[in-house]
């Protein structure tokens, strides 16, 4: 292969690195109104009255909209394929507010100053209600988060509004109770994972205007342009044909921008006023009023025989979806699916529980999408099991993990590709497991190692579809049209690499266009680790079709059969040795009557979602005086099938690992007793800085996925999962106590080590 597998530079890399005006806020029309949102100060309240007269009289104010001024069709902001499994539990504005930060009124003004002044002049009379803030108390709490009767679910997701249950899920394979009873060793523990902010550097933002035909154009920093168009159509009661969504360069998403938090507000203002309008969320708004990772509680029971074969896995989960149910059922199910599928020697597995409503910031999609949470719980339990059995945890995993060609107990499907066993072996060597495991007391500090493994998926099996078009342009170059969204990952580049490989052309002969719902072929969007795998396959098929058309067209001109024509990417050669350059063919395809511009077009959806795998190894030092955990070294060995671009894959992996490290050690969403978010800035919500991460080392153990483009699987999400359980394992090996609640702050570690000072044996 000439281009696939090469670490070529991102096609837009230089422009974005040097600050060119390419992002949403750089492109706003000069005369756009500034939109600002009045937000609820209460976790739960009924709006009795709103007085907007004073606000409307501020000079420059174009409109002030309240719940009386908006359409009344309930919708979900979850960026999912229609019909979405997330409940339709939102209105644009409502007379009931459900968390501190919920939208109360929309103000649009000529400038920020006028909009801010108007916000301060809106008088709201609230009837303050009792909120439900503790997700463990949510079910059957006297306070009901969604009392409305017009809430709608497209599927039976086990929604029970009056009990604050957003979704219910249960999967059981085999007889878990019997297998646990028959197990020689059973470990049991309850684990908690916290909400986590996506904390992409570019906050949420969008602007809108009416085009020459009176259509609504929305430009947004989004991962899901086609879903945004559909959501806007539903929420604004406007035909989708009247809406165009354009995605410029995106300053990070991490799943946050799979929820359309901002687009509706300027769109509504533009419809009401006829004028361009923009909204740019401040960082504080992004923390308090958008979405985050679902916080979860897991009760895990693992049963194994004396030899360490895991026979039963039982996981009961409770998920906090906050005030609205975006992604509630699917994040919930993924948490079980991706953590239990790993251990296919089990005879019985069960995963069950609820996602519940609370009066807090809504949860949504975030990198790892539940698998991160489930991985922490199940991998921690597996490490605990290793301790109970007196087995090396890496050996325990090698005994139990699923391998290529084996049946996955959860889906009852054959696994197409996997090199997790090699990932574990190599990771052990790279971290120096045999020399370092479990720990070494250095006096004031203890040094220790820990590990975890994980899997994710590649796209959503049986649901998501991507399309791609490749056109041969008049001068012999190509245009690749995509509906996927590169949010910084380099997906535009790797998809162009795939097209270039099929067409045997240099990368710079491919023009990439993505994404504009008026122009781009349909794509569900960039989430669920689908772009390389699902859109990639669509690109390979489309480029393959175009290649065949090029050869057929040349054969026609040469009076030969297509099979007799060879094409090296630049020149077509016929049976008699006659030659035609691609540029000549391209020119002839667009000149004169009865010509046809050549294009390949393909859609792709996959019946399977092949998992990528990671084996992660943490090397930490714990300060015995303070409980502070310092991560010295983290090794991740990754099976993402064929690596399409090693540089981009490596950096994407490093970034995902650091987000996992943030979850493990630093990032902590805290509320006050009235439901106000205390961690609403980077002062109080600490994402890792350069000094907090030690050394991160990424390696690949390639496998070949038969259903993927050039053998590729995904990498975007899976990399976020292992740090939390691996670091918790290392901390256990250092201080002798299991920590079951993230993040592993010095206070928690110190409390745990002083509570169980005698137990410092190996796991």
């Amino acid at each position: 292969m000439k281009i696939v597998g090469k670490g070529v530079a991102k096609i837009d890399g230089l422009a974005i690195a040097t600050g060119k005006p390419l992002y949403t806020d750089d492109l706003v029309p000069a005369n756009a109104l500034t939109v600002k949102i009045l937000r609820s100060p209460h976790a739960a309240a009924r709006i009795k009255a709103i007085d907007t007269v004073a606000a409307e009289s501020v000079e420059g104010v174009a409109c002030v909209l309240t719940h009386k001024d908006v359409p009344q069709a309930r919708f979900t902001l979850a960026g999912q394929t229609y019909p979405e499994p997330s409940p339709y539990d939102r209105l644009i504005l409502e007379d009931l507010v459900r968390y501190v930060g919920d939208e109360v009124a929309i103000v649009a003004a000529a400038d920020e100053r006028a909009a801010q002044k108007a916000l301060e002049l809106i008088k709201v009379d609230y009837e303050v209600l009792t909120p439900v803030l503790d997700f463990e108390q949510a079910i059957d709490h006297p306070a009901v988060v969604h009392p409305e009767t017009d809430l709608h679910c497209n599927f039976d997701i086990g929604h029970n509004r009056l009990r604050n249950i957003a979704a219910t899920h249960k999967v059981e394979v085999g007889d878990v109770a019997a297998e646990l009873a028959a197990s020689a060793v059973v470990v049991e523990e309850t684990y908690y994972t916290q909400a986590q902010a996506q904390a992409m550097m570019e906050t949420y933002r969008a602007f809108s205007y009416l085009d020459h035909a009176g259509r609504l154009v929305v430009v947004s920093s989004t991962q899901i342009p086609f879903h945004v168009r559909r959501q806007l159509a539903r929420a604004l009661e406007l035909p989708a044909s009247r809406i165009r969504v354009i995605k410029p360069r995106i300053g990070g998403g991490f799943g946050g921008k799979q929820t359309a938090v901002a687009e509706i507000f300027p769109a509504l203002v533009t419809l009401r006023t006829g004028r361009p309008a923009k909204i740019v969320y401040e960082r504080r708004e992004t923390f308090t009023a958008t979405n985050s990772r679902h916080a979860m509680r897991f009760k895990v029971r693992l049963g194994a025989d004396r030899d360490g074969l895991i026979r039963a896995i039982d996981v009961e989960c409770l998920s906090d979806t906050g005030a609205y149910g975006e992604h509630a059922p699917t994040v919930f199910s993924v948490a079980g699916e991706k953590s239990l599928s790993l251990y296919n020697k089990a005879r019985a597995v069960r995963y069950a529980g609820h996602a519940v409503y609370t009066n807090k910031l809504p949860a949504g999609a975030m990198r790892g999408y539940g698998a991160t949470q489930g991985c922490f719980a199940v991998e921690s339990a597996v490490n605990k099991l290793a301790g109970a059995l007196g087995l090396d945890p890496s050996a325990l995993r090698l005994k139990n993990i699923i391998r290529a060609g084996e049946l996955d107990i959860y889906h009852n499907r054959i696994l197409g590709s996997a090199s997790l066993d090699r990932c574990i072996e190599r990771g052990r060597e790279l971290i120096g497991w045999d020399e370092k495991y479990p720990s070494r007391d250095l006096g004031g500090k203890v040094r220790a190692v820990g590990m975890a493994v994980t899997m994710q998926g590649s796209g959503i099996a049986g649901i998501d579809t991507a399309s791609a078009e490749v056109r041969l342009n008049d001068d012999g170059n190509y245009t690749l049209l995509l509906g996927s969204t590169d949010m910084g990952t380099g997906s535009d580049t790797i998809l162009a690499q795939m097209a270039a490989e099929v067409l045997q052309t240099p990368l710079d002969a491919i023009i990439v266009h993505a994404a504009d719902t008026d122009v781009s072929p349909f794509d569900t969007g960039s989430y669920a680790s689908s772009t390389a795998y699902v859109t990639g396959m669509a690109v390979v098929k489309a480029a393959g079709e175009l290649r065949e058309k090029i050869i057929a067209a040349a054969a026609g001109l040469m009076n030969a059969a297509p099979a007799e024509v060879t094409f090296d990417g630049a020149v077509l050669t016929g049976p008699a040795g006659d030659r035609l350059t691609l540029a000549e063919l391209a020119q002839r395809s667009v000149v004169g009557p009865d010509r046809r511009q050549l294009a390949g077009y393909a859609s792709h959806g996959s019946p399977v979602s092949p998992p990528p795998f990671v084996a992660g190894f943490a090397d930490v030092e714990v300060d015995k005086e303070t409980g502070k955990v310092e991560l010295l070294d983290y090794v991740a060995v990754i099976d993402c099938g064929t690596v399409i671009n090693p540089n981009l894959a490596r950096v994407q992996a490093e970034g995902g690992l650091v987000q996992g490290i943030g979850l493990a050690l630093y990032e902590d969403v805290r509320y006050d007793e009235r439901g106000g978010l205390q961690t609403n800035s980077f002062m109080t919500y600490k994402i890792p800085s350069r000094k907090d991460v030690g050394a991160i080392r990424v390696f690949f153990e390639e496998s070949y996925e038969p259903t993927g483009p050039f053998g590729a699987k995904s990498i975007g999400e899976v990399v976020a999962n292992t740090p939390a359980p691996a670091i918790a394992h290392a901390v256990r090996n250092a201080v002798g106590a299991w920590l079951t609640r993230l993040p592993l702050t010095p206070e928690k570690v110190y409390a745990a080590m002083t509570k169980q000072p005698k137990e410092r044996t190996c796991t």
């Binding site: 230089l14 974005i16 040097t18 600050g19 550097m201 910084g488 540089n647 950096v651 970034g655 991460v693």
Partner: protein
Amino acid sequence: MRIEVTINGHKTALEVAPDEILADTLRAAGFASVRRGCDTTNCGLCTVWVDGRPTLSCAILAARMDGRDITTIEGVAGEAEAFARLLVAEGAEQCGFCSPGFIMTVLAMKRELADPTDDEIIHYLTGNLCRCTGYMGQLRAVKKFLEVRP
């Protein structure tokens, strides 16, 4: 109020509000590379140089810039591109939203520190957050850049 500043070598007069921050002034004047990421001086995205020193433009009033010399990445385009090429070759720019502020800090560091160690590099750049790359690729690019002789 009216201030006279030099931006990227050009003297210019600007009308600014008394409470206006420099980041907003620069963006309004067409310097789209200046980004706001946090509003609390934590992220470093808005870093520009004031009189040659890296400064958070979200935390300084435009009114205080009267008579000062301001440099954005547009003003050091050649040098910025030289480093950006190394960053891009490493695959370490990802979403790129933090890059202008980061690059301004890297270029300032190159002027300020002679032969820095890894720890010194990391310390100098700690105020520049990045949520995409995990910092390792940026460090690789910075080390390559520091080895390049002018």
